[in-house]
Symmetry: C2
Subunit: 315 residues, 2 copies
């Protein structure tokens, strides 16, 4: 049991150093004072028990890790250099101080990988565990925005799609054969934010835009494309072997499954067709998703693919 | 009923302009890109239904207003110039689109007063209404920190203490005589962040430190004072007339009641005794709380006052 707010702050101060070149004034005052670059990328994400994760299969460390990882992915989509974050934490009475420490250690693990400062936050009791993170980083000179691609451009993806969806389904079903899908489970429990890839993309003049694929391509593609454009999926679309295996067992279309995805935290980008070989050579994990076409919707072999993406309010 | 995430975003975009000198890239991308001063003050606060407010006596507009006001108060305590904020919103299915619009309009009212940009956030379904705000502003050159006062210094307060506690109690009791306490109700429902006062204090060389009194003086005084110091309350401590009236009816000590307070969002500061008249002349709402003494705890007429402050985990 967490005995008091002070007890919680003790654990935070044990796990997260309260000194960092980015913090002129650190935690423990009304505000942190930050040494800032001229342009800051800033984003917020919620990570809520029974909405975004379940404690039946998330270890405390994974909760802390993933809450920060999904926020880092937003910075990755802008090619930003991560600097710091604030944590708003809603704490239920059924979790103890040990859980709190492990959760923060999982968060500190990924914060350490990207040299992120925890600069403050707030704490309250509540019915379920909830984490709200606001994260920021130095913006590159070039902005990687949405709706920048034209018909004929190549759409590419860095990272995997469908793998986290596969992991989620295996975990939700408590599948007996789970251990045959290690990468799927990891993709759901411990997504890797593609910070380096985003920075490399932002450094390429040829790259027209970028976004992080958090709600699945089916839902995120229309957000990335301009009105009146769609995508013809590349015939060589390579489904991840674990996804292919799972879809075979479940008798579902592996490409549709991959496009539905969700929580992929891959990066979706675009460039002119002529620039694609160069872009691919710079970001080895990038693969060609397809080509922008002058008709809305998603097409495969010339036929429209029927897809419905993820919306928290339509579940 | 909010039909979809898009429906929510429509309302947000109706109520909050998506253009501001501070936003180089606005809402609707993975990150906002902000034009930043060299030093940024940044803070986060939670505002949760049934923890921080009840819908039985908070109108939608008041929820939106207060969620942002309490965040602004943290900037006030540093004398910062408000710039922008992000909103993480947890939305329960029992609230409709009309509530959402009114809530955001209440928030936009106070955002407009301080020319704040809403730069982004996140949205999720949940069991209760919850707002998590991260706010930032330009830091003054001088930092108004805690633990800067020495024995002999004057402690002063800008704003009222005890009034919001009085308002909370009247509202919780659903008191029949509520209309006799208009300022108390307003102090609880619509606290006024002392942004201008904070900026004036930060501009005074003589001011040694400042914090916002959010958990009541009883709890916040020890956080403001250095270890080994306490406060002798000024014999002229003037209880607010509404608080005095309420305490008379309730037969409780009005000074203890005021010191317990809670959600006062007053500013607590300190300066050398010689500088006090000058500080007071610059901030007309400032009044003398007492004098720092070289013994921990709070004293009144030479006797220790027994106080227990507010802790979310001790309730």
């Amino acid at each position: 049991m967490l005995k008091s707010e002070e007890h919680f702050l003790e654990i935070i101060n044990d796990v997260f150093p309260n000194a960092h070149p980015h913090m002129l004034v650190g935690r423990g005052d009304d505000c942190a004072v930050l040494a800032c670059p001229r342009k800051l990328c800033l984003s917020s994400d919620l990570f809520l028990e029974n909405v975004h994760f379940r404690l039946s299969y998330f270890k405390a460390e994974d909760v802390g890790y993933k809450a920060l990882a999904v926020n880092l992915s937003d910075l990755a989509a802008h090619g930003a250099r991560p600097l710091g974050f604030n944590l708003n934490l809603v704490w239920p009475s059924y979790l103890d101080a040990g859980f709190c420490r492990c959760m923060l250690e999982g968060m500190a693990e990924i914060a350490g990988q990207f040299n992120l400062a925890l600069t403050g936050g707030d704490l309250s009791l509540g019915n379920c565990l909830g984490l709200g993170i606001t994260i920021w980083g130095q913006s590159p000179e070039k902005y990687l925005l949405r709706e920048s691609c034209l018909p004929g451009d190549v759409l590419f993806v860095a990272g995997e799609v469908g793998l986290a969806r596969c992991g989620l389904m295996l975990l939700e079903e408590n599948c007996r054969h789970m251990n045959q899908y290690p990468l799927s489970l990891a993709a759901h429990l411990r997504p890797v934010p593609l910070i380096l890839e985003g920075q490399v993309l932002a450094g390429q003049e040829a790259v027209k835009g970028c976004m992080d694929v958090s709600d699945g391509l089916a839902r995120d593609l229309p957000r990335f494309l301009s009105r009146g454009t769609g995508v013809e999926i590349d015939p060589a679309f390579a489904v991840h072997p674990e996804v292919a295996g799972y879809c075979r067992v479940m008798k579902v279309d592996p490409i549709v499954f991959s496009l539905l995805g969700g929580e992929d935290y891959a990066l979706l980008g675009g460039c002119a067709e002529d620039d694609w070989p160069m872009v691919q050579s710079r970001v080895s994990s990038a693969w060609k998703l397809g080509r922008v076409v002058a008709r809305e919707r998603v097409f495969l072999d010339g036929n429209r693919v029927f897809l419905k993406g993820f919306d928290h309010f339509e579940l």
